[in-house]
């Protein structure tokens, strides 16, 4: 029984971390329609700044994020305005924009990675913050992982409420569903998409800050997070924040239970198997367009 709770609690915290990773991409891809391949680099960017502030100046990552998150918003907005807006303007369809943004952000990936490599090199970076053990129903979990879970759930639910309960949120959803028709009801599509992209950048930087507290990372590791985030939002239904959280928790639980009861070497395979099964049954994801 203890073993079961162990697996359950580990799975939920891991799922929370995955949910956190995917939140920002859900806004960027689901709403702003930018398939951002440099997403993982943005995450590493947040992690790197938190690491630098902590190791060089002893600034707590939580305090540091007061500076990092606004910076991420600015960088996100600037990236959208300068690099992506021209693509948005000239793309006739949503599909065309996806392909264009994919290529552009692929380039961005190397620019960001190059800057970070030049700044700190390719070595492994690691520090510990809030790594005291917390007893959760007999299972010891790092406080930092619990914090990541709590923030993922809070941010996810707040965003979900904002999108479904407010006027601005309704406009954002209209934009996600059909950007052309949204203009007919006086939604400033480009401005709103820019904000959604910037908010996505803030969330991914936040994920980076939190993850840096417990994961060892290097500046070339971004692609791992991009892949994970993509799987989660496609599985949950693109643009659906609640779906993303559910998918992330499912992945975390499957990984933890397979590792505990079957074999840890099958965790990756079981994650992809779950992804496949979900897509076979619901091609638009768990909470895809059909259910919206």
């Amino acid at each position: 029984m203890l073993q079961f709770f162990d697996a359950l609690i580990t799975g939920i915290t891991l799922g929370g971390m995955y949910a956190l990773i995917a939140l920002g991409l859900n806004l960027q891809y689901g709403v702003a329609r930018i398939l951002n391949l440099s997403y993982g680099e943005m995450l590493i960017g947040g992690a790197l700044l938190a690491w630098a502030l902590f190791t060089a100046h002893g600034v707590s990552p939580l305090v540091g994020s007061l500076a990092i998150l606004p910076l991420a918003a600015l960088v996100g907005l600037a990236t959208y305005r300068l690099a992506l807006m021209p693509l948005v303007r000239r793309s006739p369809t949503r599909e065309a924009l996806e392909v264009d943004s994919l290529l552009a952000s692929f380039g961005l990936l190397f620019v960001m990675q190059g800057i970070m490599l030049a700044a700190v090199g390719g070595g492994y970076l690691s520090y510990g913050y809030l790594s005291t053990s917390v007893d959760v129903f007999g299972t010891l979990i790092g406080a930092n992982r619990l914090l990541a879970l709590a923030i993922a759930l809070t941010a996810g639910l707040l965003l979900y409420a904002g999108l479904t309960r407010t006027r601005l949120g309704t406009a954002v959803r209209a934009l996600a569903v059909d950007p052309v028709s949204a203009q007919l009801v006086a939604v400033d599509v480009n401005r709103l998409a820019g904000w959604a992209f910037a908010l996505g950048a803030v969330l991914v930087a936040l994920a980076g800050v939190l993850i840096s507290m417990f994961l060892t990372f290097s500046v070339t590791m971004g692609v791992i997070f991009t892949m994970k985030a993509l799987i989660i939002i496609i599985m949950g239904g693109v643009g659906n924040l609640l779906g993303g959280i559910v998918a992330a928790l499912m992945l975390g639980l499957v990984e933890s239970f397979v590792a505990t009861y079957v074999d840890p070497s099958l965790t990756l395979a079981s994650n992809y198997a779950l992804f496949l099964v979900v897509l076979l049954i619901r091609p638009t994801g768990l909470f895809g367009k059909a259910s919206r």
Partner: protein, 409 residues
């Protein structure tokens, strides 16, 4: 395609020019040593291998070149010749590494080529080194098939050893602890399901069985696993006194962190690649003390201390306590072989390397069947440094068991 064509056209022009100059010059010039020696390498500056390469490998290439040049250059036939270098990023892809090495040989015409990062990459480019006849001084090439490889390519020199060597040395340590009544005969063993991790696990299984140990747990996990708690939890449920992880750097850190958070305190905690990185101590501070790992060094060695100091001056950080120094020592051996031969005559340099003994920062280096004899196989963090504890040799520290319990961070 265009830049490449342009490049080669320029190369052709250069070659024509150089040939012309040579023809005009008196014959005596041609027989003299070259004015500079070109050193080249392809290595992972981006992609999944970039982390390991940056900690262990290319900083030592640069440091060696700097040290040689600071001393006036490489002594060739009574003259000192300065080194210059060319570097390519192989983006952690073996095809890129192969292409870049071909280019180094055919277009850049390097005099000395240094290998890329990792076993797979080294295997991929070994035929190019062999075709060019150049000595290949590897420091991140490790496999149980080393004997076959060096038989096929006699220009390959290996500073590391077979996975079996490391696993057997670890089990020897465990046997001594068991004989002293410090641990029981049960081991919880995990490994990363990737190259060296798999080989170490295979060798470890055999060595443990031969040593009369039983495996209470024997699990693999994929690389880049982001939460290793379930693995530590399973180890915790066993009654094994010894935890052995044949791990790679990120999971070495992850396993240690999970063990600490879950208050898993086996009497012996061993992790493989990454344990000897300075970042391990920076991350875990006094909690690192007592952790066993692969590699190690002799803290009594003044040459090694000086090397660390030079590395810090050049790269603003310490070298790791295993692979880094071996790269540097391998290059020192190659340098001495070249100076002894007195010209850039690759077959003669290879022959000299296979028979000579070379004083280096890690002590005298001698190759038997192209594999370095001796070295440190098991190390332990003791009072803030990762020292060699096995095999028994001058400078070896006594191993400390049991590992102190993790302290709260």
């Amino acid at each position: 395609m265009n830049p490449v064509q342009k490049q080669s056209r320029r190369k052709v022009l250069k070659t024509i020019g150089a040939t012309g100059a040579l023809l005009c010059a008196p014959a005596i010039v041609r027989s003299q040593a070259p004015s500079t020696i070109k050193v080249g390498w392809a290595i992972s500056k981006t992609g999944p291998f970039a982390g390991g390469a940056a900690v262990t490998q290319w900083p030592n290439y640069l440091l060696w070149i700097k040290d040689v040049n600071d001393a006036g250059g490489l002594r060739i036939g009574g003259r000192k010749v300065m080194l210059e270098h060319v570097e390519y990023d192989d983006r952690s892809q073996s095809e890129e590494a192969v292409r870049a090495c071909e280019r180094l040989v055919n277009q850049d015409k390097v005099d000395i080529m240094l290998p890329p990062w990792g076993t797979g990459m080294n295997l991929a480019v070994a035929p190019i080194f062999h075709r060019a006849g150049m000595p290949m001084m590897t420091g991140s090439f490790v496999s149980d098939r080393i004997p076959e490889v060096v038989k096929r390519w006699n220009n390959v020199f290996v500073m590391l050893n077979t996975a079996e060597t490391y696993a057997v040395a670890l089990v020897e340590q465990l046997k001594a602890m068991r004989a002293a009544g410090q641990i029981n005969d049960s081991i919880a063993m995990v490994h990363v399901t990737e190259g060296f991790g798999l080989e170490l696990a295979n060798a470890g299984r055999k060595a443990a069985a031969a040593g009369g140990f039983k495996l209470a747990m024997d699990r693999g996990y994929p690389i880049a696993t982001q939460d290793l708690s379930p693995i530590i939890a399973e180890a915790q449920r066993t009654s094994a006194d010894t935890f052995v992880a044949f791990s790679y750097p990120p999971d070495t850190m992850g396993l240690t962190e999970a063990a600490r958070v879950r208050a898993y305190n086996p009497k012996v905690f061993y992790s493989a690649v990454g344990t000897f990185f300075p970042v391990y101590r920076d991350r875990f501070k006094e909690n690192a003390d007592g952790v066993l790992g692969i590699g190690g060094w002799n803290p009594d060695s003044q040459a090694f201390r000086d090397y660390i100091a030079r590395h810090v001056v050049m790269h603003k950080r310490e070298p790791d306590r295993w692979g880094a120094s071996l790269f540097y020592a391998g290059l020192q051996a190659m340098q001495q072989a070249i100076e002894k031969v007195g010209k850039m005559d690759n077959p003669a340099i290879v022959a000299e390397l296979s028979k000579g003994t070379f004083p280096t920062i890690v002590g005298p280096v001698k190759f038997r069947n192209n594999v370095r004899e001796g070295g440190w196989y098991v190390g332990q963090w003791q009072d803030g440094d990762f020292v060699g504890v096995g095999p028994k040799q001058p400078g070896a520290r006594a191993v400390r068991v049991p590992k102190p319990a993790w302290k709260a961070a």
